[in-house]
């Protein structure tokens, strides 16, 4: 938990942050909007005070009402992982600038995020599906995409014995599962 | 008629077999006897008049038939040898130590569905394996297996050998092209390029031997190496032998030059679309090729059928079994029996776990082995061709083992490294070898005019 690093980030990027920088264990997390991705990432990559030359991970998240793109970076100026959450992507047309101009290796990670969530990375030269067949129409990791056994527990199931999904109902886990299928993150 | 069909239907399968085969055999035998009686005399005259042709036909048939057990044996050697080098067991179940496995493989290959892929040129597709197989096997005609045991005694035997083995390129290209498959095409072209590239060093490396022997006749080359093992051409042509060995490995598509059948790259190369007996032909052709190049190495550089020491042939054994008269009958009847009992008794006496009949079985087997050994020894001592054949086969199989050993040990060379090696290194070294040999011959002739033929 590097407090000085948080201070430096606040000083440099304070205006574009969409929330306070949070730190927990060895991770520092900041939230920005999709329009600020290019300047922020370029600064983090090129600026000698930060030198985040290593992109550890790039993924998409579906929080129920918005989509996010999450980047994890590593630099040797700080012992923390830096997590950048690009927040506020709409569910109908999520668009983020692509990071392939800095890291060519982000191409396939963005392809995967597109395949699983439908997030369009503008500037990625190869944004096609990577896991699913090319004519697939859904985005599997979205929260409104139900796995078959989830759908079997839908409240609209039939009345007859055959139309019910007979799963144990008395365990604590089942009680939690009785909430609607598209769960939402508590807003924090 | 219905009586016959009814009684036929009542027979079981063995019954049907017997009632078909036995009358057929009887008819065949009677017919054969009649044919011999009527036509025997003129036929024999015809054969005697055309003895060379008949001899050639018999020799060619024998050679063709011999390739199959040879291929089986080499396939088994390879499977078992590589397995033991890999610290595995290898074939284990079929036959003692898995030795019948290659026979089973041969049968399997015959039983597989033999299809032609759609779009393939079926005539070329069918004839490609035949061309490859024949190009390999026809070369066996000139290799001397023993004194007097050569299919056809050509004075240009070595030229014939290289000419015929070069025809395999045509077969490879046919296979690659006719398969209507990009992998096969690539594989076929790579194979053809490889074989053609290595033919030049192959042929050039034996020019030294030709100069030393003064002839291309393989029989004469072997006869020149008679005597002690120091007379073998390997000592006089070490560089040539090395180049020949490497080039021959590449010709036969063996590791480290086996990229045409590299299954980690191009599945099976030109043979991807082949199945059943057609693939069997390619398979056999490759293993017979291994035997052929081993045989040629032995012939050219390691003395052919000569033993490593000189042997005064023929040694006649003063055995005259006919002098025993009626006693011969008793000998033939009693010797095996006596041998069985003599060899069985120690086993029966030594261990109480071996019962009487088991000891007799062991004794019988040992007696057979003893008699076979005795006959072989008598053949070896008495007939020079038996000894020559034995030594030739031993030496050839040593080289076959060396090829198997290389396959188990070495990784593969890449196509461009392979071509580089052939054109930039081996060919130059072969030329160098020719010049050195020629220079040495001239020098020795100058210093000692009677030394060389």
């Amino acid at each position: 938990m590097d407090r000085r690093f948080k201070a430096r980030l606040d000083a440099r990027f304070g205006e574009v942050l969409r929330g306070p920088i949070r730190q927990r264990h060895d991770e520092t997390e900041m939230r920005i909007g999709p329009g600020d991705v290019v300047p922020v990432m370029t600064a983090l990559h090129d600026d000698p005070a930060f030198r985040f030359e290593f992109l550890a991970d790039l993924c998409g998240v579906d929080t129920g009402d918005v989509m996010q793109a999450v980047y994890h970076l590593w630099s040797d100026v700080t012992p923390d992982w830096l997590r950048i959450i690009v927040d506020g992507l709409s569910r109908d047309d999520p668009r983020v600038p692509s990071l392939t101009f800095l890291w060519k290796g982000a191409e396939w990670m963005e392809r995967e995020a597109y395949d699983m969530f439908g997030i369009i990375f503008e500037g990625n030269r190869d944004l096609r599906r990577i896991y699913m067949p090319p004519d697939y129409t859904s985005f599997p990791l979205r929260k409104d995409f139900h796995l078959p056994d989830d759908a079997a527990r839908s409240p609209g199931g039939g009345v007859r014995h055959m139309e019910q999904a007979h799963l144990p109902t008395d365990t604590p886990a089942a009680a939690i599962r009785r909430t609607p299928a598209s769960r939402q993150l508590p807003s924090r | 008629m219905t009586a016959i069909s009814r009684s036929w239907n009542r027979l079981t399968l063995p019954g049907k077999v017997i009632f078909t085969v036995v009358p057929a055999l009887v008819v065949l035998t009677i017919g054969l006897v009649v044919a011999i009686a009527i036509l025997g005399g003129p036929a024999l005259d015809l054969v005697v008049a055309n003895l060379p042709i008949v001899r050639f036909v018999v020799a060619a048939t024998a050679i063709l038939l011999m390739t199959i057990p040879t291929a089986f044996l080499i396939i088994y050697m390879e499977m078992k040898g590589i397995a033991l080098m890999n610290l595995r067991i290898g074939p284990d179940r079929v036959g003692p130590f898995g030795s019948l496995l290659s026979v089973v493989h041969g049968l399997k290959v015959l039983m597989k569905e033999d299809f032609t892929p759609t779009g393939a040129d079926s005539v070329v597709f069918t004839w490609a394996p035949v061309v490859v197989y024949l190009a390999s096997v026809m070369t066996l005609l000139v290799i001397p297996f023993g004194p007097g045991l050569v299919g056809q005694h050509f004075q240009l035997g070595l030229l014939y050998f290289f000419a015929i083995s070069g025809l395999s390129v045509v077969g490879l290209l046919m296979a690659g092209w006719a398969s209507f498959n990009k992998y096969s095409l690539l594989g076929g072209l790579r194979s053809a390029a490889q074989v053609i590239s290595y033919e030049i060093p192959l042929v050039l490396s034996v020019v030294g031997v030709i100069m030393l022997a003064g002839t291309m006749d393989l029989v004469v080359i072997v006869e020149n190496q008679a005597g002690w093992f120091t007379d073998w051409y390997i000592w006089q042509q070490p560089l040539g032998a090395l180049i020949f060995f490497i080039a021959a490995t590449a010709e036969a598509n063996r590791t480290p030059f086996d990229l045409t059948e590299a299954d980690s790259e191009i599945v099976a190369g030109f043979a991807t679309e082949y199945s059943g007996m057609r693939f069997g032909f390619f398979f056999f052709a490759e293993y017979v090729n291994v035997f052929i190049i081993s045989a040629l190495t032995v012939t050219l550089f390691f003395g052919g059928w000569n033993a490593p020491f000189p042997w005064p042939w023929p040694i006649t054994l003063d055995l005259n079994p006919g002098s025993l008269g009626i006693g011969l009958l008793f000998v033939v009847a009693l010797v095996p029996l006596a041998l069985t009992l003599i060899l069985a008794t120690p086993f029966w006496l030594v261990s109480s776990r071996i019962k009487g009949w088991q000891a007799l079985v062991i004794g019988f087997v040992l007696a057979n082995l003893f008699l076979v050994g005795a006959v072989a020894a008598a053949g070896y001592i008495g007939f020079d061709w038996v000894a020559g054949l034995a030594w030739f086969m031993l030496k050839a199989y040593v080289f076959v083992f060396i090829f198997v050993w290389m396959r188990g040990t070495l990784p593969r060379v890449r196509i461009d490294q392979l071509m580089n090696f052939a054109w930039k290194w081996l060919m130059e070294l072969a030329f160098l070898n020719i010049f050195i040999t020629a220079g040495a011959i001239i020098l020795i002739k100058y210093l000692n005019p009677e030394a060389l033929p």
């Binding site: 927990r24 991770e27 290593f54 550890a56 991970d57 993924c59 998240v61 999450v70 994890h72 590593w74 012992p79 992982w81 997590r83 800095l102 890291w103 060519k104 290796g105 191409e107 396939w108 990670m109 995967e112 030269r125 190869d126 944004l127 096609r128 990577i130 896991y131 090319p134 599997p140 995409f145 056994d149 604590p172 886990a173 939690i176 769960r183 939402q184 993150l185 | 610290l87 779009g119 040129d121 079926s122 990009k182 690539l186 790579r190 590791t255 480290p256 980690s264 790259e265 599945v267 396959r407 188990g408 040990t409 070495l410 990784p411 593969r412 060379v413 890449r414 196509i415 461009d416 490294q417």
Partner: protein
């Protein structure tokens, strides 16, 4: 000139409705992206070759479309998804404990690292302190798994180049290690051993005796196994200078692990971002400078030696104590996010977990090193031959279970 007789439409052997054409791996739809258009247009004299999902050499089910010009590979396009199981989605419907066994089959050759990555994230979310003995056992078993994975790599690398023997010798090593781990964890391959807060079972006598046996012979065995290849002219000639990558390109392609260290960067998560008890252990980070296939191969051999050092130290420094932290059965971490990375045998294996307060993770993102490295095969293949495709892919050591998740 023979004409090819094409079978007619009513020939029963032809099962196609349309006329028999030439089967190209070009997709039957117009190109959707720039790169697809660039790749699937043929230049002069080029053709496509499909190294299909069924192939004796790709490291799992992977389809690679090669655009070749004679023997030279001009471009290549890997097609993934044949082993996609939807692990991330399944983890969203599973408990935290069940996630560990869901995550096992990703890089199935080195399962313990998959579990470790997941378990570290969960422990961060739950603020669990793992007992020291459990940490030491984790390090010990994981380093054994690293040796087993590298043994597989060495054998497989040789097999892709044509040597039939080294893979079987390496598998003797791997078999011994896997039997050891079976006596410890109960399974030979997908171990399901790590738990949130510790490990499943303590060291037992069988494991210790097997480990002792193996350790006493390990160094000579590795020397013997690699001695067959390290000096072999054919092997070295095929690998030296092949698939060279320099450090800036490697960082741009997000390389990690031995592939990055072979370019000269001493980045190892065990030292750069230490987790577990690695700060207390003494080991070096081997690096090599050339960045070619041979460097990657030799580097992994060096790493095996370092792993042996670590295992030795673990055995000597093993503390007593419990092997599991005390945790409730129903785990409900408070809402939050956690990211953790471990140094697997292939590179950085990371997980990013989001919790919403229930007993199932809200989002479980798994970052797999093989996925990243496979991207760069096209980059490394410039101007090389088809035979080198296999060599380069093998030297990057991808495991398709991880690539396809």
């Amino acid at each position: 000139m023979t004409t090819t007789r094409r079978p007619s439409a009513d020939d029963p052997r032809v099962m196609l409705d349309q006329e028999l054409g030439v089967f190209e791996p070009v997709p039957p739809y117009p190109p959707r992206t720039e790169r697809e258009a660039e790749f699937y247009t043929l230049g002069d004299g080029e053709m496509f070759i499909n190294m299909g999902p069924q192939h004796p050499s790709t490291h799992g089910v992977l389809r690679v479309v090669l655009k070749i010009d004679g023997e030279n590979v001009v471009d290549l396009d890997p097609v993934l998804g044949y082993l996609h199981r939807g692990v991330e989605k399944l983890c969203e419907n599973a408990d935290y404990h069940q996630c560990i066994s869901q995550v096992d089959p990703l890089e199935y050759v080195s399962s313990l690292f998959n579990e470790w990555g997941a378990v570290l994230s969960f422990e961060k979310l739950l603020d669990v302190q793992v007992p020291r003995r459990a940490e030491y056992i984790r390090v010990l078993s994981a380093e054994l798994n690293r040796v087993a994975s590298h043994a597989l790599f060495m054998g497989w690398m040789a097999l892709d180049l044509g040597g039939l023997t080294p893979i079987l010798w390496s598998f003797i090593e791997r078999d011994e290690i896997v039997e050891m781990l079976a006596s410890l964890t109960g399974q030979r391959m997908l171990f399901n051993y790590f738990r949130i807060g510790g490990v499943n079972g303590d060291l037992n006598h069988d494991f210790m005796s097997r480990l002792g046996n193996w350790m006493s012979r390990a160094t000579e065995q590795i020397e013997a196994n690699t001695g067959l290849l390290n000096e072999n002219e054919i092997f070295v000639r095929r690998m030296r200078g092949l698939g060279t990558i320099d450090t800036p390109t490697a960082l741009r392609m997000c390389f990690t692990g031995p592939n990055l260290r072979a370019t000269g960067v001493p980045f190892d998560i065990r030292r750069a971002h230490p987790y577990s008890v690695y700060p207390e252990l003494d080991f070096d980070i081997p690096t090599r400078d050339e960045g070619d296939c041979l460097a990657r191969y030799l580097l992994r051999v060096d790493e095996v030696k370092q792993s042996l050092r670590i295992i030795d130290q673990c055995l000597h420094q093993m503390p007593d104590g419990p092997i599991m932290a005390k945790l409730p059965r129903l785990l409900r971490p408070r809402p939050g996010r956690a990211y953790s990375a471990v140094e697997g045998p292939r590179g950085q294996y990371a997980t990013y977990v989001m919790s919403d307060g229930t007993d199932q993770p809200y989002r479980m993102r798994i970052h797999d090193p093989s996925f990243i490295h496979l991207q760069s095969v096209g980059l490394l293949m410039e101007g090389n031959l088809i035979a080198d495709t296999m060599a380069i892919m093998a030297s990057l050591d991808p495991i398709m279970g991880g690539v396809d998740k």
